[in-house]
Each structure stands twice: as C-alpha cells, then as structure tokens.
Symmetry: C2
Subunit: 196 residues, 2 copies
C-alpha cells in the first residue's frame, strides 16, 4: 500500500488533465500535441506517461471531467419545488453543465470525437441517456403542475416532448459556443416563447 501515493497520484493526474483541458480549449483536441500538454502542465514527458498510457487516455479523462463535473447536481436542483419554468430550467441545467463558453466548445468537440472514438462515444451516450430521463421527469412534473394533466397523460407528454427539450439544451450549448453575441437571457426567453 503506497503512503502518500493515493492522494498525490490523483492530484498529479488532475494537474495533467487540467493542463490538457486548457490546451484543448485553445487548440482543439486533435491539434493539441503532447508537447503542448507537457509545457502547460509544467511536467516532463516521462512524468506524464507515468500516469497516463497515451494521449488518448488523457483526452478521455479530460472529457469525463468536463461532463461528469456536475452531472449529479442537475437532478438535485430539480427536486426542489416549485418547478422552474422551461426557460429557467434550461438556464439551470446549463449553469450546472457548462457554465463557461469554453465548456460548451469542449462539448461540441466531444460530440464530433464521439463518432470515431469509442471511449468518447460511450461517454456521450451515457450523458444523453441520463439527461433524457431527467427531461422526461421534469416535463411530466411541469405539465402536471402547470396544465393540470393527470399523471399518465403528463408522463406520456413528457416522453413525447423529450427529444425537443433535449434539443433546446443542445442548442444552447452549440449557440453559446459559436455565436459571439449569444445572450443567455434572450435564449431563455425564446424557450418560453415556444413552451408557454
């Protein structure tokens, strides 16, 4: 059993991952070289390969740290009543999932990577599954409270509308990443315009 190792190893790993994330933000996943990560981390090549077997493993760990960071928080925030309206809901989830523009850009890159990297693909699928479940619950609860549907009808409507609601979240990610003039409040308002 190692002495300081357990905690120190983890600290070192996250130091590397954090440095990698900075590089990925500024240069993109593929364009980032190991030399970039080495320089940003302040460590040496040998030290890094002691903790990660390959660049791809670093990228995978970095991706997990982005999506896994606060994915548990989302559900917690939604157990509070009264339920937020859909506009607030989007802002709430986005605050928990991708506060910064940088995070949004990383997520879009992650989507693209997932087509060709099985590890990334698995990660993305998992998030989509969990997110979808949360959306159905929220939509069912909201439509029951707001529109007075009975439980079955509310759930059915939630299932039906979930893909569209998912898009409203994904669109927020994409638009905030791409459009320089993106405005969170205006976006929440747009959501309210379609889901009144």
């Amino acid at each position: 059993m190692p002495k300081v190792s357990a905690a120190h190893r983890e600290a070192r790993r996250s130091q590397i991952v954090e440095a990698a994330l900075q590089c990925f933000i500024h240069k993109g996943f593929q364009r980032t070289s190991m030399a970039d990560i080495i320089e940003a981390s302040g460590l040496s090549a040998g030290a890094i390969y002691l903790h990660f077997a390959s660049k791809q493993e670093i990228a995978s760990a970095a991706a997990q740290s982005v999506v896994g960071r606060r994915v548990g928080d989302i559900r917690d925030r939604l157990t509070q009543s009264p339920l937020p309206d859909p506009g607030q809901f989007v802002q709430l989830v986005m605050t928990g999932l991708a506060t910064e523009v940088h995070d949004s850009r990383l997520l879009v890159q992650l989507w693209a990577e997932s087509f060709f990297d099985p590890a990334m693909s698995q990660l993305v699928d998992g998030v989509f599954q969990r997110l979808r479940a949360v959306l159905v619950d929220y939509l069912a609860g909201w439509s029951a409270a707001e529109r007075g549907l009975d439980a079955d009808a509310a759930r059915a409507w939630g299932e039906r509308a979930a893909p569209a609601m998912l898009s409203l979240l994904q669109g927020h990610i994409l638009q905030s990443a791409i459009l320089p003039s993106f405005d969170t409040d205006a976006y929440a308002d747009a959501v309210r315009a379609v889901l009144p």
Copy 2:
C-alpha cells in the same frame, strides 16, 4: 483561355472533393490523411496539389459542398402555401440540408472545426445567419396564419422564438448523428408537442 479546362477542371475538383468527403465521413476531418484522399480519389499526390494548394483547402471546399448543396432550396420550399406545421417544417429543412446521417456527422464536425479554422467559422456563421432569417419569416408567417396575430406581433414573436427554433433544427442534426435509434417522425412529433 483554356479549352476543355474550364469544365474539366471543375469536374476534377469535384472528384477530389467527393473522395475527400467519403474519407471525412469514415475517419473524420483530422484523422484523414492526404494519402487517404489520394487513394480514394484514384489520382496521385501531384495531380491533387495541382487543383488544391493544401489539405485545408480541400476540407474547406468539402465543407462548402455540404452546406451549400441545397441551402437555396430551403427558402423556395417555404414560399409555398399553406405553410407546413413546425414538425413538418423541421423535416422539410432537414431533408433539404442533411438527408443522410453522414451529412449530419459532417455538420457536427464542421461546428467543432469552426472554433479553430477561420474559413470554417465564416462558413458556419453565414449559414446560421441565413437560417435565422428564414426561421423568423417562417415563424412570423405561421403564427399569423395559425394564431391570428397581426403582422407586427407575429414578427415580434418570430424574432423572439427564433433561437429556440434554431435549436430544434440543430438538435435534429446532432441527435440523428449520434443516436442509433433516432426516428425522424418521432422527432417531428416532439416538435409538435412543444409547438402546437
């Protein structure tokens, strides 16, 4: 003035672009090497560099051919009355913009590339601008016809809701690219559930 060149040159260029697109679909933008494009095109390295100055230029031309292919069609389809409902609208635009799953995957890659490649960025911005204008027009026309709003109110609502409608299109692209079980009709139904 060249004799056969004008037409033949263009044919050769599109032959290269088409080969590149196949590679990008199967391996991704970055992972595709010039050797891949050379092999897929059936030409040689020298022949290709006679038509394109760099790999990036090929990628740029390929991206343009994906988004520019039928972008003009969209507007035409929307001048027909009666206006489709939002569910049909999404299907209509998607049919014009990205019929195949492959096209969707290329678009997602394009979004990610646009963060780091100015040429791609310009292309994406342009599409978003044009698309947004089309959306405002459609939403204004639809809400006027369906909900009996006067022209000013309809336009105001269209402007307000446009970002959300844009998300419904972007979400279609993303989900069809990522989710193996994606169902276009179910998606159109989800759109109708939120925009009745």
